[in-house]
Amino acid sequence: MQSKPLTLKVLDIVTVIVLAISTWLALVFAPTEIVMGQVQRVFYFHIGTAWVGLMGFVIAAVAGIVYLITHDLKWDRVELAAVEVSLVFFFITIVLGSIWARPAWNTWWTWDPRLTTAAITELIYVAYFMLRQGIEDPERRARFGAVYTLLGGISAPITFMVIRLFRTIHPVVIGSQSAAAQGGFSMTSDMKVAFFFALFAFTVIFIDLFWHRIRLGGLQDKVEQMKLKVTM
């Protein structure tokens, strides 16, 4: 059994600390938004998880490209880890957005361009796992997965840019928003502290989980090789 590297152990501790600080900043330190009330506080985690979710899908696409060039299965593990961790974070983003939308827009869900592209992105990566499940040969699975994440990766910038390009009710935090946007607000300096710290905290959490997931993939491959060795 491979022991956990010291850096990863330290990162685990740092992750717990930054998550705790980010939660405190979001729930206690940041002032209550006057129009929406307490529900606005989900915004900090909503943005933090969205940031790492979309970043992970881009990382997966890059890992896919590297795999197609090098044919090294290590990159397939990286790609798979990035997709899995991002899928979890992006799911949280969608759920938090829906919870925020209920009091802000008076509906849990609407087929707005941002919400639609976000849902499509999530489904694209759910299908990625279904694709992988259907292919037994590791080389073939890695090749198909790489091409899929490469194409699926396009959905991440589209989801990010859609509120800046189309008329949408989803508010834009950074940059100018559509005239139809509902629920937007201007951030105070304390809100900005909580916001930027949440971005930092979720980046740290993502790196930690990503690393753990890559190690898990390595262990999985080791077990598979060992099974082959025993059965031969």
Partner: protein, 76 residues
């Protein structure tokens, strides 16, 4: 003057779900890691048990001709 609406229930639900999902994911990773380690240990035991044993002696070979010769020798 407009009062701030009480939306604390939504906030609590949001954070509860966020922590629950993250917690479940971390737990699933821990379980997978533990199970894989158990599998690896088992496979290592099997692998060490099935390591090449000393070559079997000639009398144990399933050579029908040799078997026949042995039985005829016994009869004598």
């Amino acid at each position: 003057m407009e009062t701030t609406p009480d939306t604390s229930g939504y906030m609590i639900a949001g954070y509860a779900i966020a922590f629950l999902v993250m917690g479940l994911y971390v737990f699933s990773m821990y379980l997978r890691h533990r199970n894989l380690n158990q599998d690896l240990e088992t496979l290592e035991v099997i692998s060490s048990e099935s390591k090449p044993k000393p070559a079997p002696s000639r009398t144990k070979t399933s050579n029908p001709g040799a078997k026949k010769a042995k039985t005829s020798a016994k009869k004598k």
